[in-house]
Point group: D4
């Protein structure tokens, strides 16, 4: 029997045993469970106590169960290959919370025509999550294309003057597109949480 | 006859004459017009060319016309008196774009019971805008109270280690409430724009 | 025979052998001894020379002996699980220096009602130590609840724009509660030292 | 008839008229009132409505009334002449809240013998407030001399790499004296508030 | 008779009289002369001594004489109206040094289709200068469209987390388009100097 | 048969297997291929699938094939031994893209006469790449010697207040030589890409 | 009658009246007196009380009296015109403290041959003070030319990414010439003080 | 036969084999040789090729030979145990370059009386090197005690808001003692080099 909202565990800074114990206790209550920032070692420990748990290696996430109902749809964009873990954390989170997700990858601003090809998908989304590192310019371009809330996720991808995502973060905060809001560096989970609230409200 | 979406002018860095000229040209097309960051000198210039324009002195905004329809409701919170200009910029923007706004003022985290008294209003909003300077802690507390998207606006209020709003910005980006997203320091306009999109979609 | 104040060793940057040697020399004089930032390897070395020494693994502290007298009481709060090592460093220090400690855990600002449940304990403390990472908002809320000195300890818990505790530090320095003072990131020891001075003076 | 605790107004960012109106309203209730960061223009406006109010020009503070009782004593130190406004804000605050204050000026670390001459006064204080800009080294030296809580107030005094007080702030946070806690740059008021709580508790 | 390369005066931090004196001395030698960062007061002083000098008010530049020959062509792009002074400093400099300049304005990334309309002009330029503040994303998009050297000029346009151009600077340094190099914030002059070298070499 | 421009793979953050697979797929199309930031493990994987690939260990680069034609010449300077990997990344890239490269090493500004000995080579280059860490002063000196575009590459070489290349980056951005433009810290590839465009255009 | 060492007043942050009063009191004791960071208004006030005082307008310094004896010689270099106030503050200080000063101006690193012409003067100095803003590269070049202590003074000259002298400061701290030490931004006085100690000791 | 000045190798970022090869080549010329930042692995490699080389493990330095003559004397102070490696790098360097060194350890500012006990030694030194991390306050106190050039070396000792030595660096740059100059974080070598120049000149 499934009831209520998913529970979420932030596995970074917990031992595999700690995460596994919390995970199985929550799963036993019948809710869906999500663990983010989980290594494969952590998944092994979780799997031993909760055999039906699933590991999403790119997202570094463990899920158990599924959404009670699915309402609304979002798009999750990533600029480059290295942004995929953050984008997948967002996508896996949104799906578990009950939103349909369209993934659009490799649409960095240096090749803007690849992005323009997805304009229809973007216009039809209830919310758009954009994950990008380095200069973090993608959310502005996306925000300028469609009248949909854009949640920008700076990633720690880059080197040198990227300062571990700070350059992308600043770029996104200064976006000239007014429909862009921003979450912490690498915070795919938080972006998906807010996108879910927006999408659900639009279909209530 | 009114048609289409409001037009917006960012008056900072424009002369009063420039803003007045752009404003009157836009107003002539029949859309609602908003000028943000407008001084009273700028308003005088605008008023000469567009006598029906209204000045909102706390918000430092000039408006002309009104929304075609009003759908949905948001709450705009401010922590202290000095955060009011940013909160008013958000409120005036949202109202012109067609959203009902409840203003809740003086609910800083050092007096958390004043905030708790507004819990029902907060739960019923489609989106909540929270303007706070200094330590920027208010969005986290609000985000923990209700399952509604919270758009956090750090303000440049404070001194010393507030570093002109950077402390509040960092605090909001690190919020432990997953329903918080963030815009640029003092960007009441941007927060209202996204809040409007969310509220309209929820009532479409 | 026990005499005088505890001696303190900062074990980070010392070899286990160095710490063990200093520790045993001090313990031989009859004072209580505290080593902070001690790994389990360091404890093994200490234990060999000073078999009665005790390891506090969460606090990463080693103690030997106890306070001559215990006067006054403080509360040590932590926002989340990851803040526990810092909170325990504070608690173990205060206890060894002769103060009664009430530990209050998992009272982050995103769930403000859990905090409010402890209001009486907070009001009766001589001083309150608040350990929090991420946005560092907890000291402001606590400081607003009670008229007691609050010593805020930012922790290096977080990622991305937490910048290893700098976001929490800035938040705490900008606290709008006037009874909040701040120590270095992760400095549970320093917070406890000052809290001890306050508590002892209140009961002299 | 005097009742209750002083009320405090932060006059920066308020018009003289606003501050004067709040001030007179509070004074009418019989409590002592303090306005910090008040210019002489603000004082003129306050004085018109509340003729018995007193201006403290160095502290840039306005007071009305006095403490109900005075308990305990603190020392307020300043390193150089330019730190005096912050030190006076602290001293005036503490006196209004009911603490005896000894002012010790011009005891910068480049002349450590001048400081040593005050050792007895420092040892007998319930708490010590140390205001210093530039390298912010004074609290560490004071903290090493006496076993009393030291509240360090970095000031924005300096130029170049002082970065408007940030250098002093960082120095104080890294103090090697464990009895040092820190408040925001130029926050003499906050330091005095906490010092008052400590001094009152020591004499209750 | 005209000979040799233009001479350049950086008028910021010089008095009008100083700039005028240097300007007239240089003009007397027969070379073209450029003064950057010149106020209208400075122009008045220059004009008195050198009546043929021309003031470019948007660029805040004074020129005298003209290029000996004109070779090659560059495009100077600006994202928004507030970036125009920097773009004009670049354009005026390049023209005086002997390059044909096409100005393309108001092509910020939030309206990428306006930029795409200029693709042919961009492809045919010997070098492209892109001036943008806020998130600084425009150079990446331009660099991805054409195989031409792009010189990115971050501008100090913006507020809050733009940190006076630092956000745009970081964005440009992290550009994912490999044909982008960067100069100092607001340095239209330096960008034009390098663009001139490139354009001249391409037509030698 | 060789056709078209080289393809480039950024191997950092890709597994050896991923890089090897992409590399062999690209090489099969007949274009030249470059992989930057490649470890020797990555080269082993590439070598297995593409036996003709060459490893450049100092540059940490893998190449396959060669330029269709070689046009123009650049100089690549490095200040010290530790800057060699970045300089070699630049040199290997430029050679593969079809430019003649003169390497000039160990010409740090503390021994300016060693640099002056190379003045002729510098004057004859189409573009100059200057790689330097620590204080990053070399590009200014080079830029002052010759009228050639200088592309400055700050390196992460240094310790303490070099802040991983930030000091060198800031120095280069503030160069008083107007022919200096700058790329990201350690970005030898990007510098070579732009230098190639300049050199090719000069010989078209 | 002249006795003892000069006294020094830092006039910034003092009123003209305060500086004048301190100045005349010190001058009355017979020692030489130096006031730094003094405006012409301050000089007027000083001059009224101490008619023999001299104003050095570029250095913004007031002196009275002269050194008892003059021993040793230093060179004071400045990179550009805007660095002159700092260089003159250093030169005036050293002369008053009794050292012969050779001023060398306009020897920025973009024209290294102008610097090389002064090599003999530099080799014969007891210490060299180098004032430079922007990239701050000059001390490294000077330090590499001669085996003499070089005291580097970063100046706040520049714009954009000079960050008010921080770029020059970082460059100087990372100097690859081991005979370079650094003082605070714009601190010509401090550089001269140490240079004087060195020069005097070399001739004792 | 010994001739000329010592040669110096910066071993960080060189392989043991590289350092050993350079070391033996230099040693063969008869000069003294110093390698700084050398691990014990590097020493093993050096020792194989140059058996008479000596390892200084705390300083992490390798020396060979000795100064031709020894002139002058300096003091090397360290605030805490963790500052010893930097202090020893300075001491070993100065001794090899021919200066007598007095080491004074454990004189942090929190125990100022321990420092005062060394006043005579300090007054008699030709130059004083002060190594301190955390708040970096020691150079100011030392500089205030004696009229001798003080070279301040910030160390990367500390945690949290020490930001790897940046707090100490800023403190030292803002020293209120005018005889303090500063070198890079952890740069014991550079401090000793300049101190040697000063001491030698004083005894020439
Ligand atoms: N100088 C100051 N620095 C920081 N906080 C202050 C200062 N003066 C007053 N406050 C705080 O500001 C509050 C009043 O703010 P307001 O209602 O805006 O006047 C008081 O309760 C104090 O806690
Ligand atoms: N806007 C500018 N930004 C940066 N450098 C400039 C600018 N204008 C002129 N310069 C440089 O400053 C030099 C002239 O400086 P000055 O001798 O101080 O007038 C010229 O040779 C240019 O290289
Ligand atoms: N060392 C480097 N630094 C910056 N960008 C690079 C580097 N090497 C390759 N690139 C860029 O990265 C792109 C390939 O990225 P990817 O598809 O992730 O392998 C290429 O088109 C280059 O523009
Ligand atoms: N610990 C150190 N910190 C800074 N510079 C150093 C250090 N050790 C050696 N050096 C400098 O590095 C130079 C040698 O560098 P290298 O040729 O790379 O071994 C010497 O001439 C010294 O000036
Ligand atoms: Mg969030
Ligand atoms: Mg926005
Ligand atoms: Mg402390
Ligand atoms: Mg406080
Ligand atoms: Mg340039
Ligand atoms: Mg590039
Ligand atoms: Mg100094
Ligand atoms: Mg040095």
């Amino acid at each position: 029997l499934r009831t209520g909202l998913p529970e979420v565990i932030y596995a970074a800074g917990k031992t595999p045993a700690q995460t596994a114990e919390i995970f199985s206790r929550m799963a036993a209550t019948g809710v869906a469970v999500l663990a983010t920032r989980a290594t494969s070692e952590t998944f092994e420990a979780v799997h031993t106590l909760t055999p039906e748990a699933t590991y999403h290696p790119i997202a570094r996430a463990i899920t158990h169960g599924s959404a009670l109902t699915t309402q609304g749809k979002i798009a999750v964009l990533s600029a480059g290959t290295s942004d995929l873990p953050v984008a997948e954390e967002a996508a896996v989170t949104a799906e578990l919370f009950g939103v349909r997700v369209t993934r659009i990858t490799d649409v960095g601003v240096a090749g803007v025509h690849r992005l323009l090809a997805h304009r229809d998908t973007l216009s039809n989304a209830d919310a758009i999550i954009v994950c990008a590192g380095m200069e973090g310019a993608l959310p502005s371009v996306v925000g300028g294309l469609v009248g949909v809330p854009v949640i920008a996720v700076p990633t720690s991808v880059g080197y040198g003057a990227s300062f571990a995502g700070a350059a992308a973060l600043l770029g996104m905060l200064n976006s000239c597109s007014p429909n862009v809001t921003v979450v912490n560096i690498d915070n795919g989970f938080g972006a998906a949480y807010t996108a879910t609230l927006i999408a659900h409200a639009a279909h209530r």
